[in-house]
């Protein structure tokens, strides 16, 4: 913030110059930088150029939108208000982050459902497998005290040797 102020002062004369251009002349208000406009434009996708964020979109329609953001910032509107305005006027699909209501709640809930649901399925499955292993191990444990790792039977000594090598010693 501090650094920002410093350069704001440093280039204040330039901003004054910019203010003289018609785009800046909106409603008087406060000074607005391109960076502030871009920060909001990043969150918007205009219907004219699909899946290109507003801050890089080249069309005139997008330039108009950026100008409107500029004017709204100059008029003192907040980021939230501006995004809400665009959502209401052009539909939620112009927002990078749709508002969490109605169907788009799905976008918030689904990651948890996917994670917890998946964890339950995999977890249950693994617990079952663990039980099966425990059952078969019990018998062995009666006979052997040391834990033994079953080794896959290989008849061919050649393979056994190569496989030993493949295991990386």
């Amino acid at each position: 913030m501090n650094r920002y102020l410093v350069w704001l002062l440093r280039y204040a004369w330039l901003l004054l110059l910019l203010l003289a251009t018609p785009a800046m002349a909106q409603e008087g208000g406060r000074l607005v930088t391109d960076d502030e406009v871009n920060a909001i434009a990043k969150e918007l996708y205009c219907p004219v150029c699909e899946s290109t964020p507003l801050d890089v979109c080249e069309t005139q329609a997008c330039a108009d939108w950026r100008e409107l953001i500029h004017a709204k910032l100059a008029a003192g509107e907040t980021r939230q208000e501006i995004l809400a305005y665009f959502g209401e006027n052009y539909g939620d699909r112009v927002l990078a982050t749709p508002p969490a209501r109605g169907l788009s709640l799905l976008l918030w809930v689904w990651p948890f459902v996917a994670f917890i649901g998946g964890a339950l399925i995999f977890g249950r499955y693994m617990v079952n497998m663990r039980r099966a292993a425990a059952a078969s191990e019990n018998e062995k444990a009666m006979r052997e005290t040391a834990v033994s790792y079953p080794i896959p039977p290989t008849k061919d000594p050649y393979i056994a040797r190569i496989e030993q090598e493949l295991k990386g010693e």
Partner: protein, 187 residues
């Protein structure tokens, strides 16, 4: 008893889940495909209804908002435009002149600003002295209903709310007059 159990076992839940997911995805894809291939409403089809909140200073029948259905009984010339669209400027004057000419014969011109910003749109309307009702396309819904591919596009809707003609791109005087006269003649 045993038979019952084995019958139950046949209903393997993971398999069912897989089928459900696969069929759901296929269904979704089919829906998307139908949606994508839905062309714009063609002449002869009923014009999709919508409501609009006119720009400030614009009214129809003294109302600041109206729906297409309210206009039933009139011939409606529905024009999609935008202030950022150069070809729209070509036809703007013509549309306004025609509106003035035909207004008392039961012809309503309606302008819908597509993906436009209010200050620019209002400036455009002022620039061309446009007096017929104009409204923003709120939430881009009307454009989606009419499946427009760009602006300008013009739909001619008859007195019964059925699409009569469609024009792609800027319209010229000859075409506009011909279509309107023909619609008037046919009643």
């Amino acid at each position: 008893m045993m038979a019952e159990i084995s019958a139950k076992k046949k209903l393997h839940i993971p398999s069912i889940a897989i089928w459900v997911v696969v069929l759901a995805v296929l269904g979704l894809a089919a829906f998307g495909l139908v949606r994508v291939n839905t062309a714009r409403p063609e002449p002869g089809q009923r014009a999709p209804d919508f409501t609009m909140q006119f720009y400030e200073g614009y009214t129809w029948n003294g109302q600041s908002s109206a729906s297409l259905a309210d206009m039933r009984g009139n011939i409606v010339v529905l024009n999609f435009w935008a202030s950022w669209c150069a070809p729209c400027r070509v036809e703007a004057d013509l549309l306004e002149q025609s509106w003035r000419k035909y207004a008392d014969q039961g012809v309503v011109f309606v302008g819908i600003a597509y993906s436009d910003v209010e200050p620019k749109a209002l400036a455009y309307l002022r620039e061309f002295n446009i007096t017929y009702p104009n409204a923003p396309d709120l939430r881009t819904r009307i454009a989606e209903m009419y499946d427009i591919t760009g602006v300008p596009e013009t739909f001619f809707i008859d007195r019964n709310g059925v699409i009569y003609e469609f024009h792609f791109g800027p319209i010229d005087a000859a075409r506009l007059t011909t279509v309107i006269e023909r619609m008037l003649a046919e009643g």
